[in-house]
Amino acid sequence: MTAVAQHKNVLDIEKIRKDFPILSRKVNGKPLVYFDNGASSQKPQSVIDATNKYYSYENANIHRGVHTLSQEATSAYEVVREKVRAFINADKSHEIIFTKGTTDSINLVAFSFGRTHINEGDEVLISAMEHHSNIVPWQMLCVEKKAKLKVIPINDDGELMMDEYKKLLSKKTKIVAVTHISNSLGTVNPVKEIIAAAHEKGIPVLIDGAQAIHHTTVDVKDLDCDFYSFSAHKMYGPTGVGVLYGKEELLNSIPPYQGGGDMIKTVTFEKTTYNELPHKFEAGTPNIAGGIAFGAAIDYINSIGIETIAAYEHELTEYALQQLNTVPGIKFIGKAKERASVISFLLDNIHPYDAGVILDKMGIAVRTGHHCTQPLMDRFKISGTVRASFSFYNTKEEVDVLVKGLHKVIDMFK
């Protein structure tokens, strides 16, 4: 028996779907088919309950008060840091910095690492398939520092050209920042190889894990990445919470990102000394409720098992690729051998927007447009795609509904 078949028996989709209240609602009179998981995932009841419980019984500011509520809230929040550490197998919980999300995490590194280590003439190396959030912060830095942004090219299947990558690594390269999984193409990048190649030349690597953290096992020690960033809301948790993992030594060697409360040790008008990790990078009152609910999301993933999730999503994606392939005029954008549960496509000359509007009328939520990867769309000489991205609560029946919906779209626009 294959691993996939084994997992199929383990995952009780009916039961899982009941954990997500939103999945039973109707949209435009039709049962919701939610295939926009790449943008944000839905939340299980336990995550919603954790938010409610916090505001109903536990609410207080953390890290300051001596009173019971503050202490309880602090513990509840800090427990989550430990959960995140274990989830990604980091060494120390103070290597886990809470942020607003992946974008915030990358901006933190671009600001703190970038302004310390990147100077005129230096290079920042990203890839052609990056989300705008892993392009623009570096671009802003490069403009300010008169540094250069270099781009690893991709082939027509949407895979990184590893030979070109290795050629681009030079003495001038001060950091490599690439995505683990492409949000537009679903390509799974060989991040371990990318990291090893950069490390050979002493170059640190940031991995944008926004699309990977909930689809695959992430072990930062095994990857040996220097920074890894992700968002809670794509892993069934709340919006407005994210993580930056960084190696302790690196985090200690760079200055704070923002100034304010919680990140200080002592303040006088002459001089401020900074707090220790992780607080040095966490100025101000954080999203406490979100952080605690994020813990519930991690518990939920752990209760099912990330490997079980990955196996089921793989099976569902294979099924979807097969079924979508029967749709006349479909053209897949991104055909990587290693891929996650994201499928981008075009239907003949039908504009993605037109397809998206009609699918929505049938209760099907897909993403249409450039998916915040305009340079990537330019690479394929298209303005956008239709993107269906699956999660473990999606079913083959829902894929069938999408396929039927696409036939309808074709009928209407032919």
């Binding site: 504009h351 927007y353 037109d354 009609i358 209407m412």
Partner: protein
């Protein structure tokens, strides 16, 4: 020439024949095909209404004291929608265009296109048409 209100009433009546979304959208798609197309030479970046999803080119010129609009889009539903707006606002005076408060969109069940996420939707198109009216009005003075 019919007034804006009269044209709106006509559109509402036409849409009244369709009681499901599919009929309405098929009608919009048909409308897109009869859109008064923008002259190729005006299909330039300056006349582009930028948005996240589809591209819309819009052009306006004076014919006597009336404004005539032409447009194009790479998405067919968008073409139908801008076609509807042109039917209502083209061949009207700048003042009538500036002062109108369109009600037909809501009444034909296309309110969703007014939402801010449909950033290439009706709101930016109407805004652009009114801006044209304002600009051409000053030209008339």
């Amino acid at each position: 020439m019919a007034t804006i209100k009269e044209i709106e009433e006509g559109i509402i009546e036409e849409f009244g024949y369709y009681d499901d979304w599919m009929g309405k959208y098929e009608f919009i798609i048909e409308l897109g095909k009869s859109l008064p197309l923008i002259d190729e030479k005006y299909k330039i970046d300056e006349n582009l209404i930028r948005g996240c999803q589809s591209r819309v080119w819009l052009y306006a010129q004076l014919e006597g004291d009336k404004i005539v609009f032409t447009a194009d889009s790479d998405a067919i539903i968008t073409k139908g929608i801008i076609g509807l707006l042109i039917r209502v606002l083209s061949h009207q005076t700048p003042d009538d265009i500036i002062n109108t408060n369109l009600s037909f969109i809501d009444r034909i069940g296309l309110k969703e296109h007014l939402s801010p996420t449909r950033s290439n939707g009706l709101v930016s198109m109407i805004k652009q048409m009114k801006l044209y009216a304002l600009a051409l009005k000053t030209k008339m003075l």
